[in-house]
Symmetry: C2
Subunit: 335 residues, 2 copies
């Protein structure tokens, strides 16, 4: 059994925690909290071991009625590997992990340099094998990697241009904007997303442009891809076979990002999560050598299976195909 | 004096009416109303002649306290030209105009076939000279035509790909969605906008993709353009010289579509309108032969100067350069 600790229990941490609990080869030792919020309360009710980030926090959590098993330092001693799900505090936390001598999965909010290896399971699992530090890339990058790798394998990519229409904030963070506004983010082109994809797909010719819009659910990408073999059927076949990509047709009710999120709730998944990249099948069009398509990404959930696979790769327990299948089965992924 | 009638007084009609009043060579005979709403009340207070769409409506408007000069039929007899600013009712109205033997400017909500000639002043003014029916194209198409024509003249366009992030509804129509959702519109690619641009720029190699987002102000376009002469300076020079395109830099506070709208209000223009296409200067980037940029379009206002110029072209009174300069001066356009 791989003993897993999760540092921070927010948007990503709580989802990865649940996924870890579903793996037969893993044990969730506990999660680390800094504040006694509803997430901590629900975790306690569900029997998840809670650790405090330090002694002072331990007192604060206990005063709020939480059962606290110990501190982060104590949790680290017990673990084989840590998932750092902190809000971009990986660099700050890293010396502590180094001192404890533990392997760490970092998240996509960190720079590539924090680990030197960036990871998307179906693209470059083998690069993470045996590594001490690996970074699971961000939601947008994960989606682009899955889809571009699949298209490249199926029909060869000469060049790709992606426009990212990003959700402004997550449902649990209403402080951020914009409201009634579209924000080029960044204005200066290209956006960093293309460079981030290259940390996984090293030779892809990709340019990205990104804007933020007033939504809380899903990013939408509009892709234009120059193909070596401009054949829409090959692309559709590729998507059909690839893991973690689901083809949806608008006539079945998938007419918007919120419609797709409602579909995920209908599936009965925890928190209504969609781990797959949703590609609109009826948007797929090849014209004059270029492929065009729309896809949507549930920003809170897409990296959950990647975190699970990343742990197995770093521990070197099973190969890529086996791990992806184990994870997919445990999370009931489509196909 | 060119005697102008405006049929319908909504988002476009009221703006064109005010612009007509500012032209030294035009006379606004009156506008046509169907409902006694606040737009009609304000028009009356401002001394604009109100006509009713028919006898029955005349009674309804009068009962609401409006001063009504007559009916649409009577107005048509007095006019040299009609601006049909109806909400996509041009086809329905056309037989009436034909019967009256009047020239008509239609709007971009209609099909190209309604007129056979589509119009953007700085692109194809001469095509409209002497014509009986001309269609001013939609806000998105007008913006794309202005910018693509300018880029083509400056650096030569081999291919262009545009992603349109469209505002969901106008501020005075809260019935439409989406809320907290991004809607590919249409899902099936490409969108019709590229074909519409070709009614003005006949030989452009353009593909468009469009989504709707929960905003009420401005469309935002992300453009990728393969250039014959990949030179960012030539493009910037082109924009600097072109009419009705304004270059804005994010460091001056133009960080979003709502920021640009606030700038337009600061200019003191009627209704806070921005007639120019706003191109983010610091988004302009040329890389590997491709030009990338962001631009924003005030959907309620951009076609106003086009309607004014279209009238002069159809009456054949002055040439393109003269008309554009007259219109720009009257509306206090930037540069």
């Amino acid at each position: 059994m791989i003993k897993v600790a999760i540092n921070a229990y927010g948007t990503i941490g709580r989802r990865v925690a649940d996924a870890i609990k579903l793996q037969k080869d893993m044990e969730l030792l506990g999660i680390v909290k800094r504040t006694p919020d509803y997430m901590a309360q629900v975790a306690m009710q569900r029997g998840i071991n809670i650790y405090a980030s330090d002694q002072q926090t331990k007192v604060k959590l206990q005063q709020a009625g939480l059962k606290v098993e110990g501190t982060l330092d104590e949790l680290l001693q017990l673990a084989d590997i840590v998932v750092d799900a902190s809000p971009e505090k990986g660099e700050e936390n890293k010396p502590m992990y180094e001192k404890a001598g533990k392997k760490v999965v970092f998240q996509g909010g960190e720079e590539h340099s924090i680990a030197g290896t960036s990871f998307v399971a179906q693209c470059n699992y083998d690069e993470a094998i045996g590594k001490k530090y690996v970074r699971v890339v961000s939601c947008n990058t994960t989606a682009l990697c899955r889809v571009l790798k699949t298209v490249d394998d199926a029909a060869g990519i000469e060049q790709a241009i992606a426009t990212l229409v990003r959700r402004a904030t997550d449902p649990n963070d209403p402080k951020k904007g914009p409201i009634d506004s579209v924000v080029p983010d960044p204005v200066q082109l290209p956006s960093h997303h293309a460079e981030d994809v290259k940390t996984v797909l090293h030779n892809i010719n990709l340019t990205t442009m990104a804007v933020k819009v007033p939504t809380t659910h899903m990013h939408l990408h509009a892709l234009a891809i120059k193909l070596r073999e401009p054949d829409a059927e090959k692309v559709v076949e590729g998507f059909d076979k690839a893991p973690r990509i689901v083809l949806l047709e608008s006539r079945e009710g998938y007419s918007s990002t919120s419609g797709i999120m409602d579909f995920a709730r209908e599936l009965g998944r925890p928190r209504g999560d969609l781990y797959e990249v949703a590609v609109w099948k009826d948007s797929i069009r090849v014209s004059n050598g270029w492929l065009y398509l729309f896809m949507a990404i549930h920003q809170e959930a897409i990296v959950v299976p990647e975190n699970v696979d990343c742990i197995r790769a770093m521990l070197g327990t099973v190969d890529s195909k086996t791990s992806i299948e184990m994870t997919n089965r445990s999370l009931a992924l489509i196909k």
